[in-house]
Symmetry: C2
Subunit: 383 residues, 2 copies
């Protein structure tokens, strides 16, 4: 049920002494092949961390043998020294595994703007390499946690092959309260092209639809590694579907564990003129602090939802908009309809439906409420 569930992968997760707490903070994932196919999706933030620069670069050939990940420090906004530290980490992994540094991706998460304690990192890499095992996935998932309250693992099976995944963070790809890091493994035999296309499509329909607080991390990374051990080559549709399912599973876990949240909110935009319009409207509502605080207050405040819709350039007529919360159509044609007291705001799961009456496209954006605990965690935790 982890990244070591698919055949051909070993992993380890150890306490290297990067975190002051003494918790696990360094993970190593190795693809023993025979294939070394890999793909990656990275933050769109133009201020991106040294490990993002490095990993994007080494992935240009579509091949990776190992991924080293650390929590306890993002190595972001650390200038040339930070990049040298990432490079040194990859070289250390390469040395320990007898491979080249360009076969090693690096991911970091934690505080921005501070240097990593490189002695601890490099010693940790050596120890992690010795502890690699084909049951090490759970330890690896634990070692990448920061403000996560639980590790996040997922698996999905095809006919004779499987996908495993781990994730940390509490946002979406690009956003994120803290950085989102995801590693996916598969023993399916796939080409580099399929890996890249399937990963982009899966991210588009999962992590990209998750918008916890609209903030965009400097370190977000999603990596896919294929060992090909199963020797089964699934067709593109089957593989992409399974990968999307695994990513959605992880995205759901990220949502439920978002910092300080009391609500898991699905914003479904229906009858949009285009999928882009549906996503734009859903995202605008998801990012609106007045909507988010109302959800925290268990207030079915459809007026704030309409106001958020109104800030977008999507196709709609303001006098035609319908809005339902948890199945109650409290707004019809841009005005009050069913009694708002009929809406049950008690459950953690809140479903908002927005009917744009402009076409037949649909998209769902997942988000959280804005709570006292969010303010507390993010004002007290320097990240």
């Amino acid at each position: 049920m982890t990244i070591t569930t698919p055949a051909g992968f070993r992993a380890a997760g150890i306490a290297a002494g990067i975190k002051a707490s003494g918790n696990k903070d360094l993970a190593l994932v190795v693809n023993d092949g025979p294939a070394r196919v890999a793909a990656g999706v990275f933050t769109a933030n133009r201020v991106h961390a040294a490990p993002v620069k490095w990993s994007r670069q080494v992935l240009t050939d579509g091949l990776l043998t190992a991924v080293v990940l650390n929590s306890g420090g993002a190595n972001a906004c650390t200038g040339p020294q930070g990049f040298q530290d990432t490079h040194a980490t990859a070289e250390k992994v390469a040395e320990a595994l007898g491979i080249g540094a360009v076969e090693v991706a690096v991911c970091s998460t934690g505080l921005i703007g501070e240097f990593l304690p490189m002695d601890a990192v490099l010693t940790g890499v050596e120890r992690a390499a010795k502890e690699l095992s084909n049951t090490g996935g759970a330890d690896a998932a634990e070692a990448i946690m920061t403000t996560d309250t639980k590790p996040k693992n997922a698996t999905h099976s095809g006919a004779g092959w499987s996908i495993g995944g781990m994730a940390k963070g509490a946002g979406m790809l690009a956003p994120g309260l803290a950085t989102m890091l995801v590693v996916l493994t598969t023993d399916a035999r796939i080409t580099a092209e399929l890996a890249d296309e399937a990963l982009r499509e899966a991210c588009r329909l999962s992590f990209d639809r998750l918008d916890s607080d609209g903030a965009m991390s400097t370190n977000d990374t999603v990596l896919l590694l294929s060992s090909g051990v199963s020797d089964v080559a699934p067709d593109a549709e089957a593989f992409t579907g399974a990968l999307t399912a695994a990513c959605r599973d992880l995205a759901g876990q990220l949502l439920s564990d978002a910092e300080g949240s009391t609500k898991d909110v699905a914003i479904e935009v229906v009858n949009a003129a285009s999928e882009d319009d549906a996503v734009t409207v859903g995202r605008s509502v998801a990012r609106n602090n007045l909507v988010k605080t109302a959800l925290f207050g268990k207030d079915p405040n459809w007026g704030r939802i309409l106001a958020a819709v109104g800030t977008t350039d999507a196709v709609f007529d303001a006098d035609e908009l319908d809005v339902a919360i948890n199945g109650v159509w409290i707004c019809r044609a841009g005005a009050a309809a069913e009694d708002r007291s009929l809406v049950d705001m008690e459950p953690r799961e809140i479903a908002i439906t927005i009917d744009l009456k402009a076409g037949d496209a649909t998209a769902t954006i997942l988000t959280n409420d804005l709570s006292h605990a969010y303010v507390h965690e993010n004002s007290a935790y320097s990240s």
Copy 2:
């Protein structure tokens, strides 16, 4: 020191019974002429309230004699009935003053999605018309408050003429925690063209640079009325400068009274390739919840500032960015510089400077922090 300071204006502010609290909730402002020149700027939100639709329409000829404003209800998302209510309000003012309804602008603020208690509104208009006086500006400013903790007035004098203004709300033009309403009066003799141009320029440099929480109201309205009583016709530059100063004064009062804020934050973006770039970068930082919670936590977290800058498409090199907080350059060339412990985060006033090193344009965006009190007010207050 109010909107009745310039000659030619009378105003009243009364408790009409719209607010359950019994506080003042209806204001009337009358321009006794001889001129009736007027201009308006309205919310860019495509979901806009009935009074915005009405006032925009009656202002197409650049003439207004009166403005009626109510708190206690926004009359937004209220469909055709809501528009009829606005129309009826304007008709009642016209009847009381012996003018035409098309000479009357209407502004509303308060709960979205509910009808106004029209009996109270119409009776209130009659009473307010009887209480009009050339010292009624202070009462009017009080009657438009919602979550404001204090009324907001400003005046600015030219050579033989003056400008008065009142405001309510806690956001910027378009955004706003609650709706922003502003009425400006002047006894300067100006053309409709100058009124329009000066108002747009003044708003651009004041309310448009205020971004308290990135949310955009359905009701935001700024109106300028000129009586021409002074018979002095200032040149465009002098008048625009004075109007901008009055608007900046009111914008500063809005900022200081923003819901639940503990910090007044000025984000100055310098050496941008264009003023648009500077505004875009400043706004991105101002709207970032991670930056805002860090400010609440007195944490000089320049990494979150860089991450917010990185989400924009402004011209800059991420490895060249400098950031100062309250005068301490804690980030140089995209990495840590001066010791962050040197930054004094105790004052309410926080100055953030971001040097893009890409040109010579500058802009300053004003914002607030994101506090527990913000979450409390906006989760408990249904607006």
